[in-house]
């Protein structure tokens, strides 16, 4: 894959920036959380790409195989995914509460309500 040596990382940066754009440029809180998920997954892709070795196999040790991909990024990301869903759930719970108190999940309407108080 040498002819596309950095392709993976560039795609990661692109995905990360798309997620970032959703977070800063769109007002709906649920959409922002989806953007944050995109951002998060792009980081996962980056770590996992770093751990890959050309021609290697999954790090489950068996006879006769000498080249394995790096298990360390896998461990870090595996736990990060489950922690990620737990924190996203917390974020969504906050959105639900905001909806109940303000009657909207649009950022500008929430600001307007805050100022009129």
């Amino acid at each position: 894959m040498s002819e596309f040596g950095l392709f993976n990382y560039w795609v990661v940066m692109l995905l990360m920036m798309i997620g970032f754009y959703i977070v800063i440029a769109q007002g709906n809180l649920v959409k922002k959380l989806i953007g944050l998920t995109l951002f998060q997954t792009s980081v996962f892709i980056m770590y996992i790409s770093l751990g890959k070795i050309e021609g290697a196999t999954a790090p489950i040790l068996i006879e006769g195989v000498t080249l394995y991909s790096n298990p360390l990024p896998h461990v870090l990301i595996l736990t990060a995914i489950v922690v990620g869903i737990a924190t996203t759930a917390l974020g969504l719970a906050l959105v639900v509460r905001i909806k109940e108190s303000y009657g909207t999940v649009e950022e500008d309407e929430i600001h307007a309500k805050d100022e009129s108080c």
């Binding site: 920036m17 989806i34 290697a56 999954a58 489950i60 040790l61 790096n70 737990a86």
Partner: protein
């Protein structure tokens, strides 16, 4: 250019296309579904990258539970995004382009993808791959690192998951009484006989598969995190088909909350036991006279703790969301 490169590039391009579609679409229901597709695509990509354990987790979390929670939230917050806000997308675009350009500039001196001599492979990874079989005695290096070498780290992650579960409960729990439950909440599903019968047959299989993933994690891809998510999804399926009040009869809320805490406690106690025996915190060789045997015992115990906590926290989160939804529905 070999086949693997082609698949790799196709998957990555599909990810980009999906992400752009998510930006442009105003229907949040579709955005949530696209996010699910995004999760599934990244899981396929992880398989290509030899990260089978990670792919497993991402497939069940990114494509499954995450989408489910988004949809439950949307049922309460409304399906469509407001079309015009007074945001300045051009300014945001400039900022994003600038940051992206800097980040890409940063990648330029990174070692090319897939090189075996990259610095990331030269630190602790060789030790894990060369010595873990002799020291821990299990073939899945990911499980060895997760549960034993970096057991303290994983303990922290489990506590974070537990804390997030408590947070969701604190935010969304309401006194249980205002639901008279006169109507069956998912009456529409009750009429789908095919769905009901197929699901009834699937649920025991899902539970069995969850147990397999839990206890086979040392030998193949799997472990407490994946098993927890899979196990919980069987309960989600049940409550989606038979209604929340039926599901609450099966899963006692108090018991689930106690179990979530017990999982963390089990993990922590293993650490304390090894401390008491004069070894380091979470050094499982203290658990048995034979060090490798002790490692086996320790990993089984803490993976069980992880599995219990992840399952119960996912159930708590799901019930908190859909319980809220039900009350909401009655108010309107």
């Amino acid at each position: 250019m070999n086949m693997e490169t082609v698949i790799n590039m196709v998957l990555l391009s599909l990810l980009v296309v999906t992400a752009i579609a998510i930006v442009r679409i105003k229907d949040l229901f579709a955005a949530a579904m696209l996010a699910g597709i995004y999760g599934l695509l990244s899981a396929s990509f992880f398989v290509m990258m030899d990260a089978v354990d990670v792919a497993f987790t991402e497939a069940s979390v990114g494509a499954g539970i995450s989408t489910l929670l988004m949809l439950t939230t949307l049922a309460m917050t409304g399906r469509f995004e407001k079309i015009s806000g007074n945001y300045r997308p051009r300014l945001a675009l400039v900022l994003v382009a600038l940051t992206g350009a800097l980040l890409i500039y940063g990648t330029l001196d990174m070692p090319a993808f897939g090189t075996a001599a990259a610095p990331v492979h030269e630190h602790v990874a060789p030790r894990y791959l060369n010595d873990s079989y002799a020291e821990i005695g299990i073939p899945n290096a990911v499980t060895s690192v997760l549960a034993s070498y970096r057991g303290f780290d994983t303990f922290g992650e489990v506590v974070v998951i537990f804390t997030a579960g408590i947070g969701v409960l604190a935010l969304l729990m309401r006194a249980e009484k205002p639901t008279p439950r006169t109507q069956t909440p998912t009456a529409s599903m009750h009429e789908h006989m095919v769905l009901r019968i197929v699901a009834k047959m699937l649920i025991p299989l899902i539970l069995l598969f969850g147990l397999y993933v839990q206890f086979h994690g040392e030998y193949g891809p799997g472990g407490g995190f994946q098993a927890g998510v899979i196990f919980a999804s069987a309960f989600f399926l049940y409550s989606m088909l038979f209604g929340l009040s039926e599901a609450r009869k099966v899963v006692n809320h108090v018991v689930v909350q106690i179990l979530a805490a017990l999982g963390v406690l089990l993990y922590g106690s293993v650490g304390i036991v090894s401390l008491m025996n004069g070894k380091n915190f979470l050094d499982y060789s203290a658990l048995s006279a034979d060090a490798v045997h002790g490692q086996h015992l320790g990993i089984l115990a803490i993976e069980l703790g992880v599995g219990i906590t992840v399952t119960t926290v996912m159930i708590i989160i799901f019930f908190a969301f859909s319980g809220r939804n039900q009350i909401e529905g009655e108010k309107d």
